[in-house]
Amino acid sequence: GIQVEQSPPDLILQEGANSTLRCNFSDSVNNLQWFHQNPWGQLINLFYIPSGTKQNGRLSATTVATERYSLLYISSSQTTDSGVYFCAVAGGGNKLTFGTGTQLKVEL
């Protein structure tokens, strides 16, 4: 099956800082999603981005499908951005394979 690697595994930022999270995957994909899992465990959809670039407020994402990676950018981070960020991909079907996540902590 598809392998998904995320980096860094842990990240601590001061409020207002910018960051880049990376997701590498081992095969071609038809679906790639970024999620934020909040402290209550809810998976919140951030981006559906199998290719190209999207922006939503302080967040943006880029997927370069031919090189098998995706990047999530967080600008002007806030304490509410804390939590785990997951990248998930699907190949031929729609079975999502998740990475191990990036644990982000934003401090005042």
Binding site: Q33, L96, T100
Partner: protein, 115 residues
């Protein structure tokens, strides 16, 4: 638009007991998924339904886990008998069609503790 609903939110049982979880997907979504998330890991797919038929249950431990989606809407996931290693969050998700381009939406999950 209402999101994916799950109940209960929390459940504590003893090993060898049985437990059932319920999921109501987003209205009109044809495809429903159950994922298991063990602490510190990403979610792992257990079973995928397209309407009321099973598309993928390759990672479902069928000796103890069962799932059904009657009438192609609500779904229940059952564990009988539970083991300590079943302690996890069980997430339900749905997508409109289930095709390779579909975005999945997740419910709040059920946190199961087996003692």
């Amino acid at each position: 638009e209402a999101g994916v609903a799950q109940s209960p939110r929390y459940k504590i049982i003893e090993k060898r007991q049985s437990v059932a979880f319920w999921c109501n997907p987003i209205s009109g979504h044809a495809t429903l998924y159950w994922y298991q998330q063990i602490l510190g890991q990403g979610p792992k797919l257990l079973i995928q339904f397209q309407n009321n038929g099973v598309v993928d249950d390759s990672q479902l431990p069928k000796d103890r886990f069962s799932a059904e989606r009657l009438k192609g809407v609500d779904s229940t996931l059952k564990i009988q008998p539970a083991k300590l290693e079943d302690s996890a969050v069980y997430l339900c998700a749905s997508s409109p069609l289930g095709g390779r381009w579909d975005e999945q939406y997740f419910g709040p999950g059920t946190r199961l503790t087996v003692t």
